[in-house]
Amino acid sequence: MSLLRVENVTKNFGSLTAVSEVSMKVEAGELMAVIGPNGAGKTTFFNLISGFQTPSSGRIIFDDEDVTRLLPARRVWRGMTRTFQITEVFPELTVRENLQIAVEVASGFRLRLWQSRDAAAKVTARVDELLDMSGLSGKAGRLVGELAHGDQRATEIMMSIALKPRLLLLDEPTAGMGDQETYDITQLIRKLHRDQELSIVLIEHDMRVVFHLADRIMVLAEGAMLAEGTPHEIAANEAVQAAYLGKAAA
């Protein structure tokens, strides 16, 4: 059974159709990349999956449950987390505090008015583990807002990981980054995918990243699905080449 099934989702904004009849399946443990030219509807498609927007028609099935109209927080509770194209962190808190909040929420402590020493120690241990995993240990005490873009993004990803998701949605994880930062984030995603056997769907512009990471690729163009397959198949697909090269030539 697929972890995520998107069935014929459409999203209209007035007379504009941003996403048209798109379907997708993501298996457990798979890393799926969604690519496409600017304005292809990738981010809207993502917003529909994560509950940031609701589809005009179609269904979204997560782990055999229809989540089409569930609020974002409820999808998170069911194991679906996401990051944003523009990094969404808590800028005036430290890296440690950012992760601490995520871990506490994930541990079901969000309404606790006090914390036993034992519970606090467990939270700290988990935060340390996440810091280690991401290589952010040395920056744990710094305010996230003061960090470089790549480290902010890594913090955001680790906050999502703190929730122990079964599906992680990454919206352009390397957007606006230099080569080294792109490399670091790519390595982090790869590690999470391999070591944690995490299912990931990501939108990405950087084709090196996509072909390096993805098990399968889906191509969107003008709101509709153009092609879907392994990186190999997509690279050889003429329609895809036309869509990209056509845009470039025009």
């Binding site: 944003f84 969404e88 800028p91 909040i101 506490e104 929420v105």
Partner: protein, 318 residues
């Protein structure tokens, strides 16, 4: 890092020391005990507002409503029902809590300026009720001819009615308890979800925090302590003034919080002290004391957007 902690403890200790000894030195600097009591009451209200404003990132311009409900709840109880200070307090706080809980449900989905506007609108409703319902509330004249009652413990009697110093410590006791509760809440996992909402609501929601519910809780906590401050304010004056319900009063709480620094726990206390002292001093010289406070406020906001404490803190950390 350790240096900063020492500074923090030293500052905390200094503030508590000043508060505990206030009746003994206030006369020396030109004040009087009731002025000190007023500072503590207003500080409690401003710190309660700041629980919502500074730590949850939600601006309410209608906290006077819950302050005033505390004032009238206490006053009406003592005047018409039972001449008991503590019963008056309980009724005042409970009235504020119930009103805040219901109104909160209707407004927590709103954000920013819309939230602020609606809090004003609901606040004004209570003001007009107090203003119009002459034969019960005294209307524009306020509710007078009642007073706080000495407190009988059975084995001892605390005469807060005739001894201003005893009343000061009575108020300070509730201040200490309230502030300790708010500080503990802010250090709890729940408190950190409020910081999360202040910092980035979208991220908070996508961590799985039901943001509206947490804002409602923060609002309720904030209004509870503002209501408590209201009951103490009623006892301070032995009078319930309809202007405590007026939206201007809400503005005063916001000014106090911003003046002192809304990102620091003690900021609103400093803001309240400055505001009350300035008001007391300047209003003896001119009717237009509000203009001076306004001018001072504008200068602070323009040059020290983090408030008085924000400036001091920056100086010590750099």
């Amino acid at each position: 890092m350790i240096d900063r902690l020492y500074w923090k403890y030293a500052a905390d200790a200094l503030i508590w020391l000043l508060l505990l000894t206030m009746p003994f030195w206030l006369n020396w600097v030109g004040g009087y005990t009731q002025l000190g009591t007023q500072i503590v009451v207003m500080a409690l209200a401003a710190m309660a507002l700041n629980f919502l404003l500074g730590y949850t990132g939600v601006l309410s311009f209608g906290h006077a409503a819950y302050f005033g409900l505390g004032v009238y709840g206490a006053g009406l109880t003592i005047k018409y029902l039972i001449p008991s200070t503590l019963t008056g307090m309980a009724v005042g706080v409970l009235t504020a809590v119930v009103a805040a809980a219901i109104i909160g449900l209707l407004i927590v989905h709103l954000r920013g300026i819309y939230f602020a506007m609606v809090t004003i609108a609901f606040g004004q409703v209570f003001y007009f009720v107090a203003y119009r319902w002459n034969n019960v509330t005294g209307g524009d004249d306020g509710l007078s001819n009642w007073n706080r009652m000495p407190i009988d413990f059975g084995f001892a009697r605390l005469d807060i009615l005739h001894s201003p110093v005893a009343f000061y410590y009575f108020v300070l006791f509730f201040f200490v308890v309230s502030v300790a509760i708010m500080a503990a809440l802010l250090r709890s996992p729940f408190g950190r979800t409020l910081l999360a909402i202040r910092e980035n609501e979208r991220r908070a929601r996508f961590l799985g925090i039901p943001v509206d519910r947490h804002i409602w809780l923060s609002w309720l906590i904030s209004c509870t302590f503002v209501g408590l401050a209201g009951t103490l304010y009623a006892f301070l004056n032995n009078f319930a003034d309809p202007h405590t319900l007026y939206w201007e009063q809400s503005g005063v709480f916001v000014i106090m919080a911003v003046l002192g620094g809304m990102r620091s726990f003690w900021g609103p206390l400093i803001g309240a002290a400055i505001f009350v002292a300035l008001q007391d001093y300047v209003s003896t010289m001119t009717q237009n004391w509000m203009s001076f406070i306004g001018l001072f406020f504008v200068l602070i906001v323009l040059f020290f957007p983090r408030g008085v404490l924000g400036v001091i803190r920056r100086k010590t950390s750099s």
